[in-house]
Symmetry: C2
């Protein structure tokens, strides 16, 4: 691996970026190699040189997107706010509701669900998220088991919020759902 290459100018990198964007928009199964070529401006020969099959391209793109998205969540957690505030901030973060979750939507994607190597980063993303939220909940004094359940519920409200927003075409539906959850959590502060 040569140093001093600007990776963003490599054909491989451009293919990857285009694939990530297309997978976010339409999913893996519904994205064709041809679309990746058109979006990236790279030629067919290069695609199959760098990625012997669509599966290989998908693996690289999904892995990277999962890491990126987990990092986004983690960055919101390195602050010095109290755990309840960090959780609240995660829940109420501004999201592109109608776009859906780049990772969560892959659980309805045939290409992903039928390929363990594509599903693995998806699992890693959600395990990471739940660990992050579960840890904060424990910090705030909630016993481990209950913290795990509550973390799963919080992550689920966000995922389900995306579903509601897309189903109704209304981003407000997602905001309504996370607001409902935030309100429930807030009330917990009174009686622990």
């Amino acid at each position: 691996m040569r140093l001093e290459h600007n990776k963003h100018s490599d054909a491989r990198e451009q293919l990857l970026v285009a694939a990530q964007a297309l997978f976010a928009e339409a999913g893996v199964a519904a994205t064709t190699p041809r679309q990746v070529l058109e979006r990236s401006g790279i030629g067919q020969g290069s695609l199959y040189h760098h990625f012997p099959s669509k599966r290989d391209l998908a693996r690289a793109a999904v892995e990277r997107t999962a890491q990126e998205q987990l990092q986004v969540a983690e960055r919101g957690f390195i602050g010095d706010q109290p755990p309840r505030e960090r959780i609240r901030a995660y829940l109420l973060r501004d999201r592109d509701a109608l776009a859906g979750c780049r990772i969560g939507r892959l659980t309805s994607d045939q290409a992903v669900m039928s390929d363990a190597s594509l599903l693995e980063p998806v699992e890693g993303y959600f395990s990471g998220l739940i660990d992050l939220l579960g840890g904060a909940l424990e910090e705030s004094g909630i016993p481990r088991d209950r913290a795990q359940d509550r973390a799963a519920a919080i992550v689920s409200v966000v995922q389900g919020g995306y579903v509601l927003a897309r189903a109704t075409g209304d981003p407000e539906r997602m905001r309504s759902a996370v607001r409902g959850m935030a309100e429930l959590l807030e009330r917990q502060q009174h009686d622990q």
Copy 2:
């Protein structure tokens, strides 16, 4: 429309049932007419006789599945239990977590999201669900706006629970999420 036909023996009906099952398993876009033929045992000529295009078949199948699934939820709400119990029962109902929601998963389906007539039943399903839960919450004394938000949160936890279960391959993840939500709701009983 002639009476006294056993609809379940008609080719049209068998095609519809096969399509519903396949759409539940793989989604609309990923299901081919050929698969519907094989599953139903009906011939190609009959398919295109009853449904001029895949889109027409999808419309009929999705509409019916959405109605069926909403009825399942409604049946759980006609009992004479107090509203909090009905909500709790909805949340903790036994579900095939790894299969995903037949309707919710369609929000990641290209064929559905790009066709208003396919999306409409999906929207109807979720609007119906939220109305059902929101009504019960209002009955239990929660003001309208807050009841809507909380209903959206409850529906979202279920939808997100499916996502978590499929992402991790573990149905327990969904149970954990709904348990976390049920526990939060239970605690609300103490201070309103």
